[in-house]
């Protein structure tokens, strides 16, 4: 069993400039055995701090941390059965790749044959066999990245910790490494905790995702759930690219009345919105739920708007079209089969089947 559990964990920093500063506030979660758990959130939200607390590089101010079935509150990093891959790789510059990878096992006084075997195994998995006698500075960014992963693999830990391991790679290499990490996860059958600020990375890699903001955990769910049922406006606005559109309005009967349009709410949803009848709400619409009516088999009877398109961005198979509703700018992601022209009116269908409503005060999802 190698689950990782946080119970009411907080971390405060005593900062010279900011004074007392809460980097992680009252975090409680369980990372299941063999799970690929991704921490995602904007820069400075406390992801790295959370990871470093799991590693034991940072001691929590309060709360308990469990790895497997024992508390590791005061355990030294070496006694936690973890290995970590750092954002800047943190390879020892004066050691060869072989020495870098075997350093941990040597410190643990493992027998020489075992070390050699593990290093060559890891080198083979990561195609590093020919580089073992080089120094880190003689390697490319992608190769260094592999060495950093290799150094973690040879330790055969229960839990792998990754801190933005791909952020220093170029886009192409990043996609490739992403797939390799995914495969590695299956192959190693280990628990992985992975930190990134990139929601695409989070969505593609994670079996579950922890969304954080300003030290608070916003939601913990599978990528699919996060996308379909975001708990609040932060998650809705963070996950997805481009993010969800928000339009202010009022719920009247089965209608969301915005400044410009009256949009009809599907019958089956009305029940859960009952409490908000006659109140201000925020309507959330994903860009792909803005549809050019020419793509629909039958002309819809309702929820068609006819805005002036302000900007059209070509993404190949899709357009991103920008238009205004009141003061808010809305973006739609529309298949590029039909031409769309800027500064012209186009008939767009808003798919209210996929709508989300939020409370403007609490920013929480309604229903």
């Amino acid at each position: 069993m190698s689950e990782v559990r946080f119970v009411n964990v907080s971390k405060e920093f005593e900062d010279d400039n900011k004074g007392k500063f809460t980097a992680v506030n009252d975090a409680t979660f369980t990372i299941e055995d063999k799970e690929f758990m991704v921490f995602v959130g904007p820069s400075g939200c406390g992801k790295t701090t959370s990871l470093r607390m799991i590693a034991g590089l940072e001691r929590q101010t309060s709360g308990d941390i469990y790895i497997g079935d024992r508390t590791v509150n005061k355990a030294h990093p070496k006694d936690r059965d973890i290995a970590m891959v750092f954002q800047d790789y943190a390879l020892y510059p004066h050691m060869t790749i072989r020495e870098n990878m075997s350093f941990g096992l040597k410190n643990l006084k493992r027998p020489k044959e075992e070390i050699e075997k593990k290093v060559s195994e890891a080198a083979q998995i990561l195609s590093l066999e020919n580089l073992l006698d080089r120094k880190p500075r003689e390697l490319s960014g992608g190769q260094r990245q592999r060495v950093a992963v290799g150094r973690a693999i040879v330790r055969n830990p229960k839990v792998f910790l990754f801190d933005e391991p791909l952020s220093n790679l170029d886009a192409k290499l990043r996609v490739q490494m992403r797939m390799e990490l995914s495969e590695l996860h299956k192959r190693l059958g280990a628990t992985i905790v992975y930190v990134t600020h990139d929601q695409v990375e989070a969505m593609t890699l994670g079996t579950r995702i922890v969304v954080m903001n300003q030290g608070e955990i916003q939601q913990i769910d599978t990528p699919e759930e996060l996308y379909k049922n975001p708990k609040n406006m932060f998650v809705a606005g963070f996950i997805g690219s481009p993010p969800m559109n928000f339009v202010r309005g009022r719920l009247d009967g089965n209608i969301v009345q915005t400044v410009e349009h009256a949009l009809v709410v599907p019958e089956d949803k009305l029940l859960k919105y009952a409490e908000y009848q006659g109140k201000e709400v925020v309507l959330g619409i994903r860009p792909e739920d803005v549809i050019n009516i020419e793509h629909l088999p039958d002309a819809p009877a309702q929820n068609v708007i006819e805005p002036v398109i302000k900007i059209v961005e070509h993404l190949g198979s899709e357009f991103l079209v920008y238009f205004g509703i009141g003061e808010e700018t809305i973006v739609g992601k529309i298949s590029s089969d039909y031409h769309m022209e800027v500064f012209k009116k186009h008939q767009l269908y808003i798919n209210m089947e996929k709508m989300t409503l939020f409370d403007p005060q609490t920013q929480m999802r309604i229903g």
Binding site: R52, A55, G56, L57, H76, P77, K78, I82, A83, M84, F86, Q87, D88, A90, L91, Y92, P93, H94, F103, G104, N107, L108, R151
Partner: protein, 295 residues
């Protein structure tokens, strides 16, 4: 029309290129001339020292001076060794400079690492106090230090008196802290995860990376102590305890001075420094740029 225009443009470009070349040549010439003059100015005293050391006692004070002695002689060098003690002074200088170099490298690197990378209560306060102590001129602490070493500890005329005050200097701690701070902290974290004990982190991870910086620190410490005159002059009285720099003064008598022997002694004193400079040139260059370039 178009081609005409292009031709004119080409000619203009060529002209500009020529101008640029001329500027470059002129600029380089100026730099070379200035550096040459500077080199000559720094070198003249050294040459003069050497020339004087191979003159005989009469021609050395002759006016106008002989640029090239008509009767070069090594007599002055013989006198240096005849007076007695030169070998001992040399040994003393080697002992004192070596001990201080080792102690400064060891202690400054440990302190610098702690100040740069370890968290402990009062770290910043202690560091600021140390830094503040650098602002106090040496002349102010000289007399209290003398009283402490000579009167209180009764160490006058011993090796201890020569080395204790500067076993580690604040300036060296500061220098060490600066280059330790430039080493990435994630390496220390990585080593902790790699089950490396704290002393071993310092030894296996930090020291190898800090080597160039420590080499610079060591070389500068060695040179500074080799050339140090005033403190050894104050706390040594017997001939056997003198260092080279102090020993050289013994060629100055009540009414006369043996300039030839002084020059010959100075040449002998400078030779180890030349060797150190030439052998470790790259570290001196690094010393000048330390902290300036990262990565």
């Amino acid at each position: 029309m178009a081609t005409n225009h292009q031709q004119i443009q080409l000619q203009l470009d060529e002209k500009k290129d020529k101008q640029r070349k001329i500027f470059k040549i002129v600029g380089l010439s100026v730099i070379y001339i200035v550096l040459t003059i500077w080199a000559i100015l720094t070198f003249v005293p050294l040459i003069w020292m050497f020339i004087s050391s191979i003159k005989d006692t009469t021609s050395i004070t002759q006016v106008p001076p002989q640029l090239i002695p008509d009767q070069p002689t090594l007599d002055a060098y013989r006198r240096v060794f005849d007076v007695g003690g030169f070998a001992r002074w040399f040994l003393n200088s080697v002992i004192v400079s070596t001990i201080l170099t080792i102690s400064n490298v060891v202690l400054a690197s440990l302190a610098g690492y702690a100040f740069a990378k370890l968290k402990f209560p009062g770290r910043n306060t202690i560091f600021w106090i140390l830094l503040g102590s650098m602002m106090i001129p040496g002349q102010i602490t000289l007399i209290p230090l003398y009283i402490l070493i000579v009167n209180t500890f009764q160490m006058a005329d011993t090796y201890l008196a020569l080395v204790i005050p500067t076993l580690v200097t604040t300036a060296n701690i500061f220098l060490a802290r600066q280059f330790m701070a430039s080493l990435p902290s994630t390496l220390i974290d990585a080593a902790r995860i790699d089950a490396c004990s704290e002393p071993k982190i310092f030894w296996k991870v930090i020291l190898p990376m800090a080597k160039p910086g420590l080499a610079v620190l060591g070389i500068f410490t060695f040179v500074a102590n080799w050339n140090n005159f005033f403190w050894p002059f104050l706390v040594t009285s017997s001939n056997e305890m003198r260092t080279l720099q102090v020993g050289l003064t013994s060629f100055r008598y009540q009414y006369t001075a043996d300039y030839g022997a002084m020059m010959a002694g100075a040449v002998l004193t400078a030779i180890p420094m030349f060797i150190v400079f030439l052998a470790l040139q790259k570290y001196f260059l690094k010393g000048i740029t330390i902290g300036a370039v990262k990565g």
